[in-house]
C-alpha cells in the first residue's frame, strides 16, 4: 500500500483495521464493480469500491515504498 486518502474518519477506520501506507495487502476477491476482500495483517477486510478508490497501491516487492 502506498497511500491513503479520504476523510479523516474514513482514514482512521482503515488504519484501525490495519490498512496504512507501507502495509502489504493481498486482494483475495473482486467482483465486477462490487466490494473487494483484502487480506491485511492476517485478517480479512471487505471494502466497498468507493472506499477502495481512496487506497493507492503499488506492486509489493517495490522496496522503495516499504517503510517497515
Amino acid at each position: 500500500m502506498a497511500g491513503l486518502a479520504g476523510s479523516p474518519a474514513l482514514r482512521a477506520r482503515l488504519v484501525s483495521l490495519g490498512l496504512l501506507p507501507g502495509t502489504v495487502v493481498t486482494i483475495l476477491r473482486r467482483q465486477g464493480r462490487g466490494p473487494l476482500v483484502l487480506e491485511v495483517r492476517g485478517s480479512r477486510v471487505a471494502l466497498g469500491r468507493a472506499v477502495a478508490r481512496h487506497i493507492q497501491v503499488v506492486p509489493a516487492g517495490d522496496a522503495t515504498l516499504r517503510r517497515t
Binding site: 491513503l4 479520504g6 476523510s7 479523516p8 474518519a9 474514513l10 482514514r11 482512521a12 477506520r13 482503515l14 488504519v15 484501525s16 483495521l17 490495519g18 496504512l20 501506507p21 507501507g22 502495509t23 483475495l28 476477491r29 467482483q31 465486477g32 464493480r33 462490487g34 466490494p35 476482500v37 487480506e39 491485511v40 495483517r41 492476517g42 485478517s43 480479512r44 477486510v45 471487505a46 471494502l47 466497498g48 468507493a50 472506499v51 517503510r67 517497515t68
Partner: protein, 686 residues
C-alpha cells in the same frame, strides 16, 4: 469493607469479549444505555475466591479515536469512570491487528491486563508465545484464556483484581513515536500539565498525542486558540517532514511497536486459520452462488420465526383469549363491569395482543444470533452492499428491512447493527413501509370482499410491491435531504467462521426477550389503556347485568370518544373515501394493525369478527366500493405505524422527534397517495 472493584472489558469486535464476559458474570447481568447515546453497556457481578468485582462490558471497537459512538463511549468510560482495572481482550489467532487496541490502552497508562483469548485455538495451530517477554514489553500482566471453554477465566479475574488492588505491578510501557513526533510532543506537552506530578505528565503526553492526531473530543477540552495555532503548526511541520499526516505517522509507530514485539515473541505466523474460512467463503460469497444461498438462508430465518414460533404464539393467543373471557364472565356484579372491561379489553386485549408475539421474537433473535455469532452476518452485508448502495444505504441495512415483513418492532431493533446514525435513522424510518404480518389480516378481510378470485393474488402482490417501491423512494429522498452526506463507506472485517456457543445464543435471545417484555409492560400498557378509555367512555346506559358483557356494541361505540373522534375525523378523511366507521377502526389500528379488523366488526355490530368473517364482508360490500377497499389497504400499508413501532422507534433512536417524524411522514404520505388514488379512481368511474 472496601468499595466494590470495577473491571472494564474492552476489545475488538470478534475478539470473544462477550463470551468471556458471559463466563465471568454468568446470567447476573444487566444492560444500561450510556446517557446521551444508544450504545449499550452491559455490566454484571462476578464473585470468586479471589474477591468480587463489577464487570463492565464496553462496546467492541478497533481503535481509541473518537469517530464512532462506540469509541466515544469506551473512551469516556475509561477516562471518566476510572475503572480499577481494564482487561483488553485480544484474539491471539489474529494477534497483530488486535494488539493495535492494546497498544492504545497501554498509551493511556491504565491499570491494564491483557487477556490473550482463544489461546487454545492459537496453540492448536502451532503458535507459540513468549508471554513473559511480551508482558515485559507492554509492562502489563498477560493471561491466556479461552472464553468458549472457560479456561483461564479464574486466572484472569485474579490478575485483574491484583492489579486493581495494586498488589501486582502494572506499569504500561511508554511508546516512543520517533524523533519528529517526540519533538512536536515536547512543544505541546508543557502547555497541558498544570504541575509536574508523574500522573499529570503521562496524561499530558497522551493528550498531546491526541491533539497531534487532531482528535475532536480532546479539542473540546482545550478551546485555547494559541494552543490550536501551535498544534496546527506542528502538524503541518510533521506532515512536511515525514510526507504523511501525523495520524498515519503515529499509527505507523504503533504498528511498528507491535510487529517488533511479535517478531520477538511469537513463533510461526498466523496464516493457516483462514484456510477453512476462505474455503467456506469461496462458496458463500461466490459472485453467482452467494446471492441464492443468502436468499435461502433468509427464507430459513422466516421459516423458523413463523413456523417454529407460530404454534407457541397461537397458544399464547388462546391463553389471553381465555383469560379475557374469564375476566368478562364470572359472578356478575353491579359496577364491576367497567373494571372487567378495563382488565379484559384494555390490559389483556392490548398488552396480550403484543405479548403473544414473544415466541416469534425469541426465535427471530436466536436466528439472528446464529448468523451473527458464526460470522455470516458480515458476509450477508457484503453480498447486499451493491444493491443497497444504489439506495444510498449500507449493505447492513438489508437485514432489518427484510425483517420488517415480519414485524416492524424487531426490525427496528435490528438496526442496532448499523454503525452510522444516518443509515440507522433512514432505515428505521422506512421499515414500516415493509408490509408487516399484522397488516395481512386487513388485506385478507378486504381483498376477497371486493375482488374476484383471479385478481386476489395480484392485488396482494401489488400492495407489497407498493410498500417496497415507496421504501426505496423514501430512502433516496431521505438521504438527499434530512440525512444528506457521504454514504457510509463500506469497510468491514470478515471474521473467521466460528461455531456459536449455546450459552451465548441463549443469553442473546433472553436479552432481547427481556427488552420486549419491558416494553409491553410499560409503553404498550399505557397506550392500550388510553385506547380502551377512548372506546369505553362516555358510557351508554349500563346494559342489564347478567349478560356477558361483550366489548362495546355499535351504538355504544358511536357514542364513545373513539366514535366521536371518528365522526370528527370524517371531513379530513373524506377525500380518501373514508367515513366515520373507517375512521374509528383506523383509530383502533394504531394499537396494532390487526385491531382494524376487530374494530370494523364492532362498528358493524356483527359480533366477533376475524379476517374470514363472511357477514362482515357482506356488510362491507353493501356500503363500499372496491375502490374504497383498495384505499383502505393502501392507507393501512403506508400510514399510521402502530404504537409498538412508534414506541420502539423512540427507544431505539433515543428521541421522540424521530418517532414523531416517522409517524407524521408516513401518515402524510399515506394520506396523499390514498387521496390521489381515490380521486383518480373516481374520475375514472370506479
Amino acid at each position: 469493607m472496601s468499595p466494590l472493584i470495577t473491571i472494564a472489558l474492552t476489545g475488538n469486535p470478534n475478539s470473544g469479549k462477550t463470551t468471556l464476559f458471559n463466563q465471568l458474570t454468568g446470567a447476573r447481568q444487566h444492560v444500561g444505555n450510556y446517557p446521551g447515546v444508544t450504545v449499550e453497556i452491559k455490566e454484571g457481578l462476578c464473585r470468586s475466591a479471589a474477591g468480587a468485582a463489577r464487570v463492565v462490558d464496553l462496546p467492541g471497537i478497533y481503535s481509541l479515536t473518537s469517530y464512532s459512538p462506540e469509541e466515544q463511549v469506551t473512551r469516556r468510560f475509561l477516562l471518566g469512570d476510572k475503572p480499577d482495572a481494564v482487561v483488553d481482550v485480544v484474539d491471539t489467532s489474529n494477534l497483530e491487528r488486535h494488539l493495535y487496541l492494546a497498544v492504545q490502552c497501554m498509551e493511556l497508562g491504565l491499570p491494564l491486563v491483557l487477556a490473550f483469548n482463544m489461546s487454545d485455538v492459537a496453540r492448536a495451530r502451532g503458535l507459540e508465545f513468549n508471554l513473559l517477554r511480551l508482558s515485559a514489553l507492554f509492562g502489563v500482566p498477560i493471561v491466556p484464556t479461552s472464553g468458549t471453554k472457560g479456561e483461564g477465566v479464574p486466572d484472569l479475574l485474579t490478575a485483574a483484581l491484583a492489579v486493581a488492588r495494586r498488589e501486582r505491578p502494572c506499569a504500561p510501557a511508554e511508546l516512543r513515536y520517533g524523533r519528529d513526533v517526540e519533538a512536536a510532543l515536547e512543544q505541546i506537552q508543557p502547555r497541558l500539565s498544570a504541575d509536574g506530578s508523574p500522573g499529570q505528565v503521562s496524561r499530558a503526553r497522551w493528550l498531546a498525542v491526541k491533539l497531534l492526531e487532531n482528535d475532536a473530543d480532546v479539542w473540546k477540552e482545550f478551546p485555547d486558540p494559541a494552543l490550536r495555532a501551535l498544534v496546527d503548526r506542528e502538524r503541518a511541520q510533521l506532515a512536511e517532514r515525514c510526507g504523511d499526516t501525523p495520524e498515519i505517522i503515529i499509527a505507523d509507530r504503533r504498528y511498528g511497536f507491535i510487529s517488533g514485539a511479535c517478531s520477538e515473541c511469537v513463533r510461526l505466523t498466523v496464516e493457516e486459520r483462514h484456510d477453512r474460512s476462505d474455503r467456506i467463503d469461496a462458496l458463500l460469497i461466490h459472485r453467482v452462488w452467494g446471492l441464492p444461498i443468502f436468499l435461502l438462508l433468509m427464507y430459513a430465518v422466516f421459516f423458523i420465526v413463523f413456523k417454529v414460533g407460530g404454534p407457541p404464539t397461537e397458544w399464547l393467543d388462546h391463553l389471553f383469549a381465555t383469560l379475557k373471557d374469564l375476566t368478562r364472565g364470572g359472578a356478575p356484579g353491579a359496577g364491576s363491569g367497567l373494571w372487567r372491561s378495563l382488565l379484559a379489553d384494555g390490559v389483556l386485549g392490548g398488552v396480550g395482543g403484543v405479548l403473544m408475539f414473544l415466541p416469534n421474537i425469541v426465535m427471530l433473535f436466536t436466528a439472528i444470533a446464529v448468523l451473527e455469532d458464526t460470522g455470516y452476518m458480515a458476509r450477508a452485508a457484503f453480498i447486499m452492499d451493491r444493491l443497497m448502495h444504489k439506495l444510498g444505504l449500507h449493505g447492513q441495512s438489508f437485514i432489518p428491512l427484510l425483517l420488517g415483513f415480519g414485524c416492524s418492532v424487531p426490525a427496528i431493533m435490528a438496526t442496532r447493527t448499523l454503525e452510522s446514525r444516518r443509515d440507522r435513522l433512514t432505515t428505521m424510518l422506512i421499515i414500516p413501509l415493509m408490509s408487516c404480518g399484522a397488516r395481512f389480516p386487513i388485506y385478507a378481510l378486504i381483498i376477497p370482499a371486493f375482488f374476484p378470485a383471479a385478481w386476489q393474488a395480484p392485488i396482494l402482490w401489488l400492495i407489497y410491491l407498493l410498500g417496497i417501491v415507496l421504501a426505496v423512494l423514501c430512502a433516496r429522498v431521505l438521504r438527499r435531504t434530512l440525512f444528506r452526506g457521504e454514504t457510509t463507506p463500506f469497510v468491514m472485517e470478515l471474521p473467521p467462521y466460528r461455531r456459536p456457543t449455546v450459552k451465548g445464543l441463549a443469553l442473546h435471545a433472553w436479552d432481547n426477550a427481556r427488552h420486549f417484555l419491558h416494553k409491553a409492560g410499560t409503553v404498550v400498557l399505557v397506550f392500550s389503556l388510553v385506547l380502551w378509555a377512548l372506546a369505553s367512555f362516555p358510557r351508554a346506559a349500563q346494559p342489564a347485568g347478567g349478560a356477558v358483557d361483550r366489548s362495546a356494541t355499535a351504538p355504544e361505540l358511536a357514542q364513545s370518544y373513539a366514535g366521536r373522534i371518528g365522526h370528527a375525523l370524517e371531513p379530513v378523511i373524506r377525500p380518501m373515501g373514508f367515513d366515520w366507521r373507517i375512521g374509528t377502526a383506523i383509530l383502533g389500528a394504531f394499537a396494532a394493525k390487526e385491531i382494524f379488523v376487530a374494530q370494523m366488526g364492532v362498528v358493524f355490530s356483527v359480533g366477533h369478527a376475524d379476517e374470514s368473517s363472511e357477514p362482515l364482508r357482506a356488510r362491507l360490500r353493501e356500503l363500499y366500493t372496491p375502490l374504497n377497499g383498495l384505499c383502505i389497504m393502501i392507507f393501512m400499508l403506508i400510514g399510521l405505524p402502530c404504537m409498538a413501532t412508534v414506541a420502539v422507534t423512540r427507544t431505539e433512536s433515543g428521541a421522540w422527534r424521530w418517532a414523531a417524524l416517522q409517524f407524521g411522514l408516513l401518515t402524510g404520505l399515506a394520506y396523499l397517495i390514498t387521496t390521489l388514488v381515490y380521486q383518480a379512481g373516481r374520475l375514472a368511474g370506479f
